[in-house]
């Protein structure tokens, strides 16, 4: 038996291939971050309120309901046990019942989330399609009038309260000009006419080939989506510009010019290729920020998404719903980060 004697100080290194080890380390760090996220929400929901039970069952609960919830939350047990219950529940997709809708919070979130995603996705598309070229041109023509315009556009975007700009947009394009649909996702006429497949009305109405409903939904989404698009444009164009400036002063760009390449090819084939990886991170980050920006935008436009859900829950002290929505948004944040790290590894030859 002496040959298998265990010596804790000299553990043999696990004979794992390096990619597997890298994956394991990444997975471990992701789990720690997720656990931390759950701990923060647990702390906010169960430790900080003086009466966590009331926050869950509401103030009009009977003595029995109160007692049942007390036991269910495990408030008679030590904090660490309560936390493990909480993690267990969340891992099973159980965020408890919503006070307001009297339905499981997870069902509610599943219902409202597609609306937010539809909005944020169109927003980020606008931000990328306009922001990236604007940033590149501003860097190439540094100091020109187009650079100045890009600067002002970004500065205004950074400084404008999004909910106010939304109100102004609604006032101008809906109230005065009548170019777009008003608040909400659909006109009254089309409400509940489209069978829900993905939960995203533009997609669903296209699937159902109901082009009237599609046009209607489009006229409702275009204003809030442009608004979010403008915010991500401000950020994306600014970051693109500074990344490009860095690359354009790099020596390999001179090499490309020495070869006799046109300026256009130097910019897009050489310099731009080098910022793709950084851009992916920026885009992932601004997509995540759009989910956040959508909280205020959804309220202005009465958009039935997760931001609206979260705020309504907040105002009616529906703690389970608040925490559920917070956890989901946090998880999406983390997933976007992982996703951009992954793309980084794929696109950058130096990371292999």
């Amino acid at each position: 038996m002496s040959s298998t004697h265990y010596n804790p100080k000299r553990q043999p290194r696990l004979p794992l291939p390096s990619w597997l080890k890298g994956t394991l380390v990444t997975l471990a760090s992701i789990s720690v971050t997720m656990l931390g996220l759950l701990f923060v929400t647990f702390f906010i929901g169960r430790v900080m309120p003086i009466e966590p039970v009331l926050a869950v069952v509401g103030e009009r609960a009977t003595q029995e309901q109160y007692h049942a919830a007390y036991l269910e939350l495990g408030l008679d047990k030590p904090l660490i046990v309560q936390f493990s219950y909480y993690v267990w529940d969340v891992l099973h997709g159980d965020f408890g019942m919503s006070l307001l809708t009297a339905r499981p919070v997870s069902d509610d979130i599943g219902r409202v989330f597609p609306a937010t995603m539809e909005l944020a996705t169109i927003g980020i598309t606008i931000g990328i399609v306009l922001g990236v070229p604007l940033g590149v041109i501003a860097a190439v023509r540094r100091g020109s009038w187009i650079d100045q315009i890009a600067r002002v556009v970004a500065l205004v975007g950074y400084s404008m309260p999004i909910f106010w700009l939304g109100l102004m947009g609604l006032l101008l394009f809906y109230g005065v000009l009548g170019w777009v649909g008003g608040p909400g996702r659909q006109g009254i006429f089309y409400e509940d006419m489209i069978p829900s497949v993905t939960g995203m009305i533009l997609v669903d109405s296209a699937l159902a080939r109901d082009w009237g409903a599609f046009r209607d939904a489009f006229s409702h989404i275009i204003l809030p989506a442009s608004l979010l698009g403008y915010y991500s444009l401000a950020y994306i164009s600014r970051m693109t510009r500074s990344f490009m400036l860095e690359q354009l002063s790099a020596e390999y760009v001179t090499t490309a010019r020495v070869k006799g390449m046109s300026e256009w090819a130097v910019v897009w084939r050489h310099a731009f290729r080098n910022i793709r990886v950084q851009l992916i991170t920026v885009i992932a980050l601004s997509y995540a920020n759009l989910l956040e920006g959508s909280v205020l935008t959804e309220i202005i436009f009465s958009w039935p998404g997760i931001g609206n859900y979260l705020t309504t829950a907040l105002l009616s002290a529906d703690m389970n719903a608040v925490l559920g929505a917070t956890v989901v948004v946090g998880l999406i944040f983390i997933c976007l980060n992982i996703f951009s790290d992954l793309l980084y590894k794929i696109f950058d030859p130096r990371s292999k």
Binding site: G36, W164, L167, M168, E246, E292, I300, V329, F333
Partner: protein
């Protein structure tokens, strides 16, 4: 030539300062000169001076009491006699409310600026200097806070703490410190390994002394830039919380809350929501402009533009 015969300007611009104090003032003065040549930054500074002025002299400047209601005189448009910016749904003078609102904005900005950067600096320098497990644990915590969208986390905090200005400040601070910690840690790591820190250590300086006397002062300039630029975001977050009814409570003339009140009348009485929005925009723009200017002066290596 005695120092008395020098003008103050010459004393400040000398290439051969005779005391540490003179060198420090001279550096500040030169920074000010280069900031002054930046028109955008000066516009920003001017707006902030107006903000501070209107906050300090609110009772003198405001034509009306911001809380007095006059239902007979409600929803007056712009340019009404005695109410240049009109009145809101309860007949209160909008201009007066905006002037008093600058106090709340300033209060929030000042509090957050005192809490978040200091907390971040503390965590970041300790983490960077200590290294090892302390570093890993502190940075993990920082990452966890960074994993939340700021506004959503602030909302959750306010939900647990209850609505109100102080809780809004606390919630915003709790979400604002992690970037400062990251930044301070990065700076500490580069400073820590430099030769002059080794020299100080050889002279027997302890970690407390090194951190407070040698690392903090070097982090300050980039911190100031970052704080100034962040102020814009903080004002927007505070206004957002106010707009959602989770920050300052009515009848407080907080600008975000004023927009929220005006929202119901947006199509017919647009000015009620428009005016406070313009104020938020102006102040947040001012911080962005000033921050850009300060970055050029204090942190020339970062200014790409």
């Amino acid at each position: 030539m005695s120092s008395q015969s020098l003008t103050l300007r010459q004393w400040l611009l000398t290439d051969t300062p005779t005391s540490r104090r003179q060198a420090r003032f001279a550096a500040l003065y030169k920074g000010w000169l280069s900031l002054r040549s930046n028109h955008m930054a000066m516009i920003g500074l001017a707006i902030l001076v107006v903000l501070v002025g209107s906050a300090v002299f609110a009772p003198l400047l405001a034509p009306h009491d911001p809380f007095v209601q006059n239902l007979a005189n409600r929803l007056q448009p712009l340019g009404t006699e005695g109410h240049i910016l009109g009145t809101d749904s309860l007949g209160r003078d909008i201009l007066s409310r905006m002037i008093y609102g600058s106090r709340i904005t300033l209060y929030i900005v000042a509090l957050v600026a005192m809490i978040a950067p200091v907390a971040g600096l503390l965590v970041g320098t300790v983490s960077g200097y200590a290294g090892g497990w302390t570093d890993i644990v502190l940075m993990r915590i920082t990452d966890i806070f960074l994993a939340f969208p700021r506004l959503v986390l602030a909302l959750a905090f306010v939900a647990a703490l209850g609505a109100g200005i102080e809780n809004a400040v606390l919630a915003i601070s709790l979400t604002a410190w992690p970037p400062y910690a990251r930044m301070a840690r990065a700076e500490t790591l580069t400073i820590r390994s430099s030769d002059y820190i080794s020299a100080i250590r050889l002279q027997g300086a302890g970690p407390m002394r090194i951190i407070t006397k040698h690392i903090w002062p070097l982090c300050i300039s980039s911190l100031i830039v970052r704080v100034t630029l962040d102020m814009a975001g903080i004002i927007l977050a505070a206004a957002g919380l106010g707009f959602l009814g989770l920050g300052a409570q009515p009848p407080s003339p907080e600008w975000g809350a004023m927009i929220s009140e005006g929202r119901r009348f947006i199509l017919d009485h647009w000015w009620i929501a428009t005016m406070p929005g313009l104020a938020i925009f102006a102040v947040s723009l001012a911080f962005n402009l000033l921050g850009d200017g300060l970055r050029d002066v204090l942190d020339p290596k970062d200014s790409a533009s």
